[in-house]
Symmetry: C2
Subunit: 324 residues, 2 copies
Amino acid sequence: MVGEEFLKILANRQFPLGTLRLLASARSAGRKIQFAGREIVVEALSEGSVEGCHLAFISATDEISKKYAPIAAKAGAVVIDDSGVWRMHPEVPLVIPEVNPDDVSKHNGILAIPNCSTTPVVMTLWPVHKRNPVKRIIASTYQSVSGTGRAASEELRDTTSNALAGKPIEPKIYKHRIAFNLIPEIGSVKDDGYTSEELKMANETRKIMHAPDIAIATTCVRVPVFVSHSASVFAEFTNPITPEEFRSYLKEQPGVMVEDDLPNGVYPRPFEAAGKDPVFAGRIRKDLSIPNGIAYWVVGDNLRKGAALNALQIAELMISRDLI
Amino acid sequence: MVGEEFLKILANRQFPLGTLRLLASARSAGRKIQFAGREIVVEALSEGSVEGCHLAFISATDEISKKYAPIAAKAGAVVIDDSGVWRMHPEVPLVIPEVNPDDVSKHNGILAIPNCSTTPVVMTLWPVHKRNPVKRIIASTYQSVSGTGRAASEELRDTTSNALAGKPIEPKIYKHRIAFNLIPEIGSVKDDGYTSEELKMANETRKIMHAPDIAIATTCVRVPVFVSHSASVFAEFTNPITPEEFRSYLKEQPGVMVEDDLPNGVYPRPFEAAGKDPVFAGRIRKDLSIPNGIAYWVVGDNLRKGAALNALQIAELMISRDLI
């Protein structure tokens, strides 16, 4: 799903594209994909197939990224990777171009994009953090099924349809029914009762913001929504801050749109954010439980800024700095 | 919907029921309702119709509760009210029988049950708070459409069906589409960017627990789920606490069930909690962002323990104490 979104975005941007090759599993090889009015035949990925690439975007399984990112980098490509395996590697820059663009300059051939639930939270905290450092972040997520992939989207569609028809539901992709339900487990099971998704949000946020001391706790929940991840965030800052200040800092931040007018029913929603580039923030107000706290709600398309768009923006940034 | 659930529960409990009368708007008068194998004809509510009642359960609009609760109390009934208008009144006990049973003794004829999003959070914090006082609560909710009422449940069903069929969607009950979407607005708009639902959770929690100093901030979100409200909670306590201690205190608490085995995919989910009496808690772990913090996930049927069951339990408690 990220690949498809990537091609849609690429076709609509001023990107200095030479040759575009699409690599996938042997099972998908031979498939024809429409791109910018022409047809591209999908090739089977192999160790030799990355030869000659200047840029390699990888959005596949962790196993594929682990194996092929170093192969592509060794063959001379700049690799921009969407998996979880390289993000926390000390020599791999983890980049949101609107937040830490300078990190692209020091790499060994592999750069990573953050997890799709991390990006919206970091993009909305960064413009404040620069002026008034974040001390503690509490986030509860509401994540769409497209974060799991196409089969999960089909499962949401099919099981919802069955639920409405009173037919039995047999989940295959998820451990439990997702139709009209919530699943508070995303990713793999890690130590201390946390999931990998919850720990990623914490670790990646600290790395991207170069702020190893931010205290972070998160709960990640899968919701019956097709596209866009949302989060309810409670952030504590070092110094006092008003909702008006928070809002004005966010309005200056490229890639963030403030939609915040509760009396008129204006706040971000995942269905409406899907297919759009910005990260949307609203419900900005004082966290009534601490002096320097702000509570807010953030929504972003997990396939776009949460994945494909961010990867492409990293490439554009590197090209503009003559790093590719 | 609460009334229907109330009748289901009443029919299955050992309740010393004499005559049962069902009062509703003139529009619903004459409707026949099945109860415990017999048929009861709904009567139109009027100022005279509450005469002779020992117990009056009210679950209607705020306006109906505001007008008829005092009339019924004056006519000699003990009123147990499900609306938002009496809960914070200083002479009205706000009761969860498993938490503050002794509060039923001092009343002027009206008692209130908490809002359906408050009850699960309070029931799970109370057994810990008794030993180790809660200092701060951060909660983000995932609330089902049945909290809005039957028309909202129909709207979720119909708009989801239309969405799957690719037909246009016109929300009537909600301001925005709820099918495969999230709406971060519940209740009316209050000061400082908060909704009434968010402020209720804070104020009611402090009143029920007799703990006016607990710091609380909440974000309330409507999700496309039919029944049961869920919440992601981060609680800070006065003294150190381990997840094992938290879990063991919860296991002792009547009305709470611990479902907590992440490696085996065991945690509460709203679809599975619907129609059940207990409040379910899981995903219990250390809040990694502070020393004395616990993060957890709680789910309860908003029509049962969140409303009808709690109301009936208050009546049972008062009967057992010869207060009715």
